[in-house]
């Protein structure tokens, strides 16, 4: 293997983003879901590592399946942080926005599912039934009044956690691009 060009920056950035995301999500889980601090850190770590791994799998498969000009745009971005002129160039910006949205929704759904999976693996049966039975009376009354109330606090917590971590990552990226422009 030729050691001339190594993706060390990508690895360093991803490590940094992971640490920040785990910390933020741990705080959100601690507040919203009432776990103790150690458990919430562990849950956040497992869920984030899992979604990052799935993200890498999707990336590797996707870059093998992309049409050639789009793959070259990807390579150009990977090595030079710019896109070059190419039949696909004008549609890059909407593509990026769309994929950002898909990534956010995808990671959110993945994390909700993996929290359930984690509970299953750790043998902790969800106390969701107990919570639901308590709230059922209240929600059925509210529903009669026309308000549909979703009492899944876990999904809400994951959504908030993801929002925080994505915003933090975006802020870091913006800071970096401002630094580069200077």
């Amino acid at each position: 293997m030729n050691f001339g060009v190594l993706p060390l920056r990508a690895i360093a950035f991803q490590g940094l983003f992971l640490l920040i995301a785990i910390a933020l999500e741990a705080i959100v889980y601690f507040r919203q879901l009432g776990f103790d601090y150690k458990t919430s850190v562990r849950y956040a770590a497992s869920v984030n590592l899992f979604s990052t791994f799935i993200g890498w799998l999707v990336f590797f498969n996707l870059q093998a399946l992309l049409p050639q000009p789009l793959k070259e745009q990807l390579i150009s971005y990977f090595f030079f942080e710019r896109f070059f002129i190419n039949p696909w160039a004008p549609s890059i910006a909407p593509l990026l926005a769309l994929s950002g949205l898909i990534v956010f929704m995808g990671i959110f759904l993945l994390e909700v599912k993996s929290l359930d999976l984690l509970d299953l693996l750790l043998g902790k049966i969800q106390t969701e039934d107990a919570v639901l039975s308590k709230e059922d009376f209240r929600t059925s009354r509210l529903r009669q009044q026309g308000i549909v109330f979703k009492s899944n606090s876990r999904a809400y917590a994951v959504l908030v956690a993801n929002a925080y971590s994505f915003s933090a990552i975006l802020i870091l990226l913006i800071i970096r691009s401002v630094e580069k422009l200077r």
Partner: protein, 381 residues
């Protein structure tokens, strides 16, 4: 007698001869009473040697029969035996040697307290990663190369090896580990999966650079994904090879031709350049990036200067690609008149006999460094 002595001396390299003479001298002097002096020295020397050998033997000879060192000795024995045989028996015995070595080293790291302490970083024992590296090397390495899959599966196999002890209950039977252990296991396995993704990323980078070698010669400092550890001056983008071949093609078509032919050729310069384009780019080693290289050229003023460009229209750190240029001069060489003495020495080229018109001589300069942007046809330089 002197002859055999000379033969004996000639066996040794010249530097060793004084030592040999000293040894012979000592051999003769020793019985003459220096023996008594040397006896004590020899005794302490013998004691020291005995102690060293005792320490070594304590280290490598297993103290009970079911120890890790037994396995390692078995593997060394297999390796030694495999040297004596050949072809498929040798491969089989060497294979068995590996099969002994890997559990042997794994066991050794857990058995020897000192090694175990040495390998523990922050309460995490890194022994499974070493065993995993050995297993991956054994499974995937060939004498020719170390394939990528070897490095990419290393963290996964190490994670499996590190996780296995937790699944065994003293019995030995299979058990499901209890929840706190499970949580740590999950995080460790996921982290190792992520490590193997990172390793796979570096292999993908290699594959991309192999497909688009001209990117290697470009400026990669702006990227937030990669880092250049070796300078890019050693890499030559394919444009260099393209221009060298273009020069060869130009010389092939013009060198030694008569001047009128040269002028006719230069009239259709653009078509000729397009021909060059087709020929030369096709002759390059087949890479995905060849579609982005183009040869262009123009004729400059003066009796005749031709500039050849190799233009890169693909991904680059400059906004509009870059190009490499090579300037060639086509000069007219007058034939040498053999009757009269030559006034000026004729330059190296061909001499066409019996023509009034001179012949062409093509000489080209070096390839320039990469110039940003597309070639500027308005500028004359």
């Amino acid at each position: 007698m002197l002859n055999s002595f000379n033969q004996f001396i000639s066996l040794f390299p010249p530097a060793l001869i004084p030592l040999v003479l000293l040894a012979i001298a000592l051999l003769f002097i020793a019985p003459l009473g220096l023996f008594a002096f040397n006896f004590l020295a020899i005794k302490t020397l013998y004691e020291e040697l005995r102690k060293i050998f005792q320490d070594i033997f304590q280290l490598i000879i297993p103290n009970k029969w079911d120890s890790a060192k037994t396995l390692i000795w078995l593997s060394v024995f297999s390796w030694a035996m495999s040297l004596l045989t050949e072809s498929f028996i040798q491969i089989f015995i060497a294979f068995c040697g590996w099969l002994f070595l890997i559990p042997g080293i794994h066991w050794l790291m857990y058995e020897e307290k000192k090694i175990k302490e040495f390998l523990t970083i922050e309460k995490v024992l890194i022994a499974p990663w070493i065993t995993g590296a050995l297993i991956c090397f054994f499974l995937f390495a060939t004498p020719e190369n170390l394939p990528g899959i070897m490095v990419v599966t290393w963290p996964i196999i190490s994670a499996i090896i590190a996780a296995l002890p937790k699944f065994i209950k003293p019995g030995p039977t299979y058990k499901v580990p209890d929840p706190p252990v499970r949580q740590d296991l999950i995080i460790m396995v996921l982290f190792n999966l992520l490590l193997s993704c990172w390793l796979q990323l570096s292999y993908s980078t290699q594959v991309w650079l192999a497909e688009y070698p001209s990117l290697r010669a470009d400026d990669l400092t702006n990227s937030s994904f990669v880092v250049q550890t070796q300078s890019s001056e050693t890499a030559n983008s394919q444009g260099y090879d393209i221009l060298v071949q273009a020069e060869a093609a130009l010389k092939e078509s013009l060198q030694g031709q008569s001047w009128s032919q040269v002028e006719r050729w230069l009239v259709n310069f653009d078509d000729r350049i397009r021909e060059f384009n087709g020929q030369i780019i096709q002759r390059l080693p087949a890479k995905a990036e060849n579609a982005y290289w183009q040869i262009e050229g123009r004729v400059l003023a003066g009796e005749y200067n031709v500039q050849l460009f190799a233009v890169w229209k693909g991904p680059s750190s400059h906004n509009a690609g870059y190009h490499l240029a090579k300037t060639c001069q086509i000069l007219q060489v007058m034939p040498v008149d053999i009757k009269t003495t030559p006034q000026t020495p004729s330059p190296v080229g061909s001499v066409a006999p019996n023509t009034q018109v001179g012949t062409a001589n093509v000489s080209c300069g070096a390839v320039t460094k990469a110039i940003k942007g597309q070639p500027d046809y308005g500028k004359v330089n």
